[in-house]
């Protein structure tokens, strides 16, 4: 499913947080959102999800304006995994994932066997099947993050928006999650801090001060100049001869080389 924005922006207290974003993510594509802290990545994701109030410009889903769609119809197409969504409720993992079925249920179509199967599959996808009956408060940060992703998968979306989903995860689960996402047959927009992980995306969008500084294939976008100007680091590209992949080794610009 294709998601596009035209001149998208959002202001808080008269101060623009994000402005003038025009981009298009093709069906099945994985777009990585990168940029320094406070560059507007999270706000852009909230705008794409249609949950930021009073946006400027607009977002379209397969050409249809998000503002003209019902919340439930949006939620059947777009799943959003926020950063650090927490609860004090003594909720079980199973129940947290079942929340993902909300847009598909109604008082006349209650949670049934098919929904339970979808939830079980989503939990298995993130390697949490054996923890279905654990209470939320007993989970580690990484486990909570994986439950959130399972909840998003249970929504059966065609577009997934993920705000730094690899935070709190150990290295195994970071790599497993990134592989899971790239294997999903859905459109993905994912905010990432690790530029080496971002290299695995189809395209990268670089945010700077609320604006889109560049968009394109990772190798074209992550140039020395841009790394220096936007991220204030130097980066040396290293090539892995086993598969020809490129990884960066970063250093502070102030450091002697």
């Amino acid at each position: 499913m294709r998601i596009a924005t035209y001149n998208l922006g959002w202001a808080s207290g008269g101060r623009p947080i994000v402005e003038g974003i025009t981009l298009e993510v093709k069906s099945g594509e994985t777009l990585g959102l990168i940029g320094p802290n406070g560059s507007g990545k999270s706000t852009l994701l909230r705008l794409l999800a249609g949950i930021a109030p009073r946006p400027q410009g607009h977002v379209t889903l397969e050409g249809e304006d998000l503002r003209r769609m019902k919340r439930r119809d949006i939620a059947r197409r777009i799943a959003f995994v926020e950063q650090q969504a927490d609860t004090a409720e003594a909720l079980r993992v199973r129940d947290a994932v079942a929340l993902g079925r909300t847009p598909w249920l109604s008082p006349l179509a209650p949670f049934g066997a098919a929904d339970a199967a979808i939830c079980a599959k989503a939990l298995a996808h993130v390697g949490m099947a054996q923890m279905a009956d654990r209470s939320w408060s007993t989970l580690s940060g990484g486990e909570r993050q994986r439950v959130h992703i399972a909840r998003a998968l249970a929504q059966r979306p065609q577009v997934m928006l993920l705000d730094e989903p690899t935070n709190h995860l150990d290295i195994h689960h970071q790599l497993a999650l990134l592989r899971l996402i790239s294997d999903l047959p859905v459109t993905v927009v994912i905010a990432l801090h690790d530029l080496n992980q971002a290299m695995g995306c189809d395209r990268l969008a670089v945010m700077e001060g609320g604006r889109l500084a560049a968009i394109g294939p990772p190798a074209e976008v992550l140039t020395q100049t841009r790394l220096g100007r936007i991220f204030r680091v130097g980066g040396r590209a290293l090539h892995d001869p086993t598969d020809g992949a490129t990884q960066f080794r970063f250093h502070c610009l102030e450091d002697p080389l």
């Binding site: 949950i51 939620a75 609860t87 129940d95 993902g100 939830c119």
Partner: protein, 346 residues
């Protein structure tokens, strides 16, 4: 809920639970009618109920019949409706505000309802047009509006909501005291203060026809939105991305809470702790999912307030202790337990 239950089994499950809940409620109401300052034997109670419900024509003392049918039955039914309504209000506010401390009392809704009711009773503002219940509703809506606006201006988090609620409660309680000091005579003042502490003595049948439908409608509105309430578990943004029309749901549910609180406060005064403690107790019993939590809290609230009413009549022989005093005597230790338990969890 999320276990794999075939639809027919699920319906049977729900029906059985409903019947069990109804039976518990019926027993509690009967106990509320039998117990009191003058304990009445079951035979008398049965005869009085049978005479009034299906004209059985059994011989009963006219005074006993009057005590049972005109006094104890409506009083017990209103206690049940109030308990259920306040507990539901607590469940909904705790889910929407995402704060374990939220209840109609703490968020200033009860205080606003009291101010509205007192304004109508003493100052006679719009007494003919809106009545005490209407005044209470306007007061409650105004109080909640002010508290919500203040919380929003302060940053809009769950903690700000509770702080704003405390400010709102203080303001409206002060307004109530001001109205009483300015305009009430000594006799009126004594009556109003007694009523403010919670009092079911004056309840008659017309009050039942207001309280019971409001509680039932409130329960239905909340149950209709049970999935939306579940979706608020991770906050309003998460609810929105799960397909909930957050603003509309908030308005409908806050409206239901305001209606329930205002009705109950206008009938029996401001009764604290029911909306706070009962939802937590119900959560301990049936878990946090609203499909079970809402009916459980309504039932527990109804039974609790019937018990509190019976206790208020029997605690000191020949004297009625305000029911708010009884609920606070039970509620304060209950609240302490919640606080201690919450500390252990984080």
């Amino acid at each position: 809920m999320s276990q794999t239950v075939p639809p027919a089994g699920l319906a049977l499950h729900v029906a059985l639970r409903g019947m069990a809940g109804g039976a518990v409620l019926l027993l509690a109401v009967l106990a509320g009618v039998i117990l009191g300052e003058t304990p009445l034997p079951w035979a008398t109670v049965h005869a009085a109920l049978a005479n009034n419900l299906w004209g059985a024509g059994l011989p009963v003392d006219a005074i006993d019949q009057g005590i049972i049918w005109s006094y104890r039955v409506p009083r017990t039914l209103v206690a049940a409706a109030c308990g259920a309504g306040l507990a539901l209000a607590g469940v909904v506010l705790q889910a929407l505000v995402r704060n374990a401390l939220a209840d109609p009392y703490l968020l200033g809704v009860s205080a606003g309802a009291s101010t509205g009711a007192v304004a109508v009773t003493i100052l006679g503002i719009g007494a003919g047009a809106i009545g005490i219940s209407g005044g209470a509703f306007l007061g409650a809506a105004l109080a909640f509006g002010l508290v919500a606006a203040l919380a929003r201006a302060a940053g809009g988090g769950p903690a700000q909501m509770v702080l704003a609620g405390i400010a709102g409660s203080q303001l409206f309680n002060a307004l109530t005291s001001f109205f009483i000091a300015k305009s009430a005579n000594a006799e009126q003042a004594r009556g109003i203060i007694f009523w403010l502490l919670g009092n079911l003595s004056g309840v008659r049948w017309p009050d039942v026809t207001l309280a019971v439908p409001v509680a039932i409608i409130g329960l239905c509105v909340c149950l209709w939105h049970m999935r939306a309430l579940d979706a608020f578990t991770f906050g309003a943004d998460a609810a929105s991305s799960l397909g909930i029309a957050v603003r509309r749901v908030q308005i409908v549910l806050i409206g239901a809470v305001t209606l329930m609180t205002a009705t109950m406060v206008s009938l029996v005064g401001s009764i604290g702790f029911v909306g706070l403690v009962i939802p937590h107790a119900a959560r301990l019993l049936v878990g946090p999912r609203h499909g079970r939590l809402l009916p459980a809290a309504a039932l527990a609230g109804a039974v609790f307030l019937i018990a509190a009413d019976v206790a208020s009549r029997m605690l000191i022989p020949g004297q009625v202790v305000p029911i708010g005093v009884v609920t606070a005597l039970v509620g304060a230790p209950g609240f302490a337990l919640i606080l201690i338990r919450g500390r252990g969890r984080t």
